[in-house]
């Protein structure tokens, strides 16, 4: 028998008023990702008032409206920058940022690498569907070489970004990748990402069957789901394989989990603010300072 709390989870985390049915196509994996996020939040027992979900534009960008958190649906590509401002003034909040691959890596690529470099405490989820789904299937930064999309009718000639590897190189504290077939693994990675104080990234592969899947005859939604199972391998196995054997495989696993970094917001308040206040006290007597309460 399923535990009681699992069976009622949707009632506690999904909004009751005026938003359903959701906008995603039947067979889309974004709902699976959302489910994994909700279960991770629930497993950690986080207070909904203390959770914010920030998104950009696109299919994944529509995720926050359905959940009963503090939700902010921003402009295309800028979710991480909005979230940076929010996190800095509300350091106690868990700020989850959800983006698609186009949102995070193309128009928002600059913010992506800099948020990771700063190691600001944002839990970032990128749903990688390898296309711009909402606008009808144009090529994105993660579209595979050779793929047919509505803007590459003669085949795609650009190599794709590796999202998780990019985040790791940019300095993220926690990086993991899984697929919407591997739901429990996805949920585990999200739980660990939420527990990480610094910048964490979970890449969830969920190829769009409506656009890029159809144009490339990758099969129906269930067939494409099966391919996520067949074409992916755990990191531990990939490490023992030659580059030729690994080619074309989705490598699932935790790519980075660092404890040697200090989270940006903590560093700001504990180092910058403290230093500035010490300097002030040294220059001017305390009584004349118009100093406000510092968020400790």
């Amino acid at each position: 028998m399923r535990p009681q709390r699992e069976s009622r989870i949707h009632e506690r985390y999904l909004r009751h008023t005026k938003k359903f049915p959701n906008i995603w196509c039947a067979g889309c994996g974004i709902g699976i990702v959302l489910g994994a996020i909700i279960r991770a939040v629930d497993a950690l027992g986080l207070d909904k008032d203390e959770v914010a979900m920030v998104s950009g534009i696109g299919c994944t960008g529509r995720m926050p409206v359905y959940v009963d958190f503090n939700t902010l649906h921003t402009t295309h590509g800028r979710a991480l920058a909005f979230a940076t401002g929010l996190k800095l003034v509300r350091p106690e909040m868990k700020v989850i940022v959800v983006m698609g691959d186009g949102d995070a890596l193309a128009i928002g690529g600059n913010h992506f690498i800099h948020a990771a470099r700063r190691n600001i405490g944002l839990t970032t989820i990128v749903v990688n569907n390898a296309t711009y789904g909402m606008t009808g299937g144009q090529y994105s930064p993660t579209t595979p070489l050779g793929a047919i999309t509505s803007t590459t009718p003669y085949g795609h000639i650009e190599p794709p970004f590796q999202i998780a590897e990019l985040a790791r190189c940019a300095g993220a504290a926690f990086v993991a990748r899984s697929t919407v077939y591997h739901v429990e693994e996805l949920q585990e990675y999200m739980t660990r990402a939420l527990q990480k104080e610094g910048f964490s990234l979970v890449e969830a592969i969920s190829y769009c069957h409506t656009t890029i899947g159809r144009l490339n005859q990758w099969g129906t939604a269930p067939e494409m789901m099966r391919r996520l199972k067949d074409d992916s391998i755990p990191l531990s196995l990939a490490e023992r394989m030659s580059p030729e054997e690994r080619a074309g495989k989705i490598i699932r696993g935790i790519l980075a989990d660092r404890d040697d970094l200090t989270e940006y917001t903590r560093r700001y308040y504990e180092e910058v603010v403290q230093r500035a206040r010490r300097e002030m006290e040294w220059i001017v007597p305390k009584s004349v300072l118009p100093v406000r309460a510092v968020r400790e």
Binding site: D49, T84, L88, Y268, V273
Partner: protein, 371 residues
């Protein structure tokens, strides 16, 4: 307080802190960099946040995010950066997020001449972002006025839940003047409005009689949705006309019905004037000098110095120009705010004085237009 020698950019930063600003995100750009530099030193001292973002788009985004978290937030830039910020300024207007955007105007277009003054962003401040939206834009003409109008910008932002643009120019930003700043205790500060309703009743975009529903910061138990999509009273996306139209009317009404509060200007001898000079920013200084010289020659000349440029003070200009046979509008551009003046008083009475080569308009240029 005793007088201090201060730059316009510094006065802007100090005005922001006096108004209660606790968040600044920016990106270096001449001639606004000094605002960021001053904030980088000052904000941590008062427990606030300074962050230099990766670009101007990220800066305005972080400012809006911080405002959603409850902070009074500001960014400062110049023309090129202001252009990059436009999409998110529209977001702030759409989602009704209070914030202040400072544009220290420099000569454009494009990279132009970074250390030369300009008033070339007047129309960009009004229509830079896409779609119909209200906006408030203020233009200071001195260092002290920069301090005061920065405070006013924050107060308008909070009172009307709107982005407010402070249109400085290179001269006002870089010029140093001896200024006496007001006693911090005497400065009026408008704080974020609170709600009396419990979370389950709260609607962030409710059509209230005040036309300005309170915006409760994230993390205080009022879980709701903010989006740049057209939205209903709860903030959820909608395509229903009976939800979109009342909202659209309200965001314009909240500005339009409060013009007496928002429209800031100074009149000098406009009553019975045969010639009226309408000026703002650095040009208002030359205009004041020109008006004084003309009066010494026995001319009846009035000066209307506009501090609020947007919403355009139609009735103020109309009234001030009532007795004037000629209305002179000097601007450091090839004619932007003059289009509004012409719309209000009629083209036949208006004479333009323009310069867009990085040099200032001299009092003699304005005097010549009176001849």
């Amino acid at each position: 307080m005793s007088p201090v020698l201060m730059q316009g950019d510094e006065a802007c930063a100090e005005g922001a802190i006096a108004a209660g600003c606790t968040f600044f995100a920016g990106y270096p750009i001449t001639p606004a960099t000094e605002i960021a530099e001053h904030m980088a030193r000052r904000l941590p001292q008062v427990g606030g946040v300074f962050i230099q973002m990766e670009d101007e788009i990220a800066s305005i985004a972080a400012v809006i995010g911080a405002a959603v978290g409850g902070a009074k937030a500001m960014t400062a830039t110049s023309g090129p950066g202001f252009s990059l910020m436009q999409e998110n300024i529209g977001y702030a207007a759409m989602a009704e997020i209070p914030c202040v955007i400072v544009d220290v105007q420099r000569l454009g277009p494009s990279t132009g001449r970074p250390t030369s003054p300009s008033q070339g962003d007047v129309m960009q401040a009004r229509w830079g972002t896409h779609g119909d939206h209200p906006i408030i834009a203020l233009a200071p003409a001195s260092v002290r006025e920069t301090f005061d109008l920065t405070v006013a910008a924050f107060n308008f932002a909070e009172r009307y839940r709107t982005p407010v643009i402070l249109l400085m120019d290179e001269v006002i930003g870089h010029m140093r003047e001896g200024v006496e700043l007001p006693d911090p205790a005497a400065i009026e500060r408008i704080e974020r409005a609170e709600t009396l309703v419990p979370p389950e009743w709260y609607k962030p975009y409710e059509n209230l009689p005040s036309d300005v529903p309170p915006l409760i910061p994230f993390g205080q138990g009022y879980r709701y949705h903010i989006t740049g999509l057209h939205h209903d009273e709860r903030g959820y996306p909608t395509e229903r006309l009976d939800e979109i139209n009342p909202w659209l009317e309200r965001i314009f009404r909240k500005i339009q019905r409060n013009l007496s509060d928002i429209l800031l200007y100074e009149e000098d001898g406009v009553e019975g004037a045969r010639t009226l000079v309408v000026a703002y920013g650095v040009v208002a200084r030359a205009a004041r000098h020109a008006v004084r010289m003309a009066r010494q020659r026995g001319r009846k000349v009035g000066l209307l110095k506009l501090q609020t440029l947007w919403p355009f003070p139609e009735e103020v200009v109309e009234q001030a120009a009532r007795s004037a046979r000629r209305v002179i509008v000097p601007e450091l551009n090839l004619g932007q705010l003059v289009l509004e003046v012409e719309r209000v008083v009629g083209r036949e009475r208006v004479r333009r004085v323009n310069r867009a080569d990085g040099e200032l308009i001299k009092p003699s240029d304005i005097l010549a237009a009176m001849a």
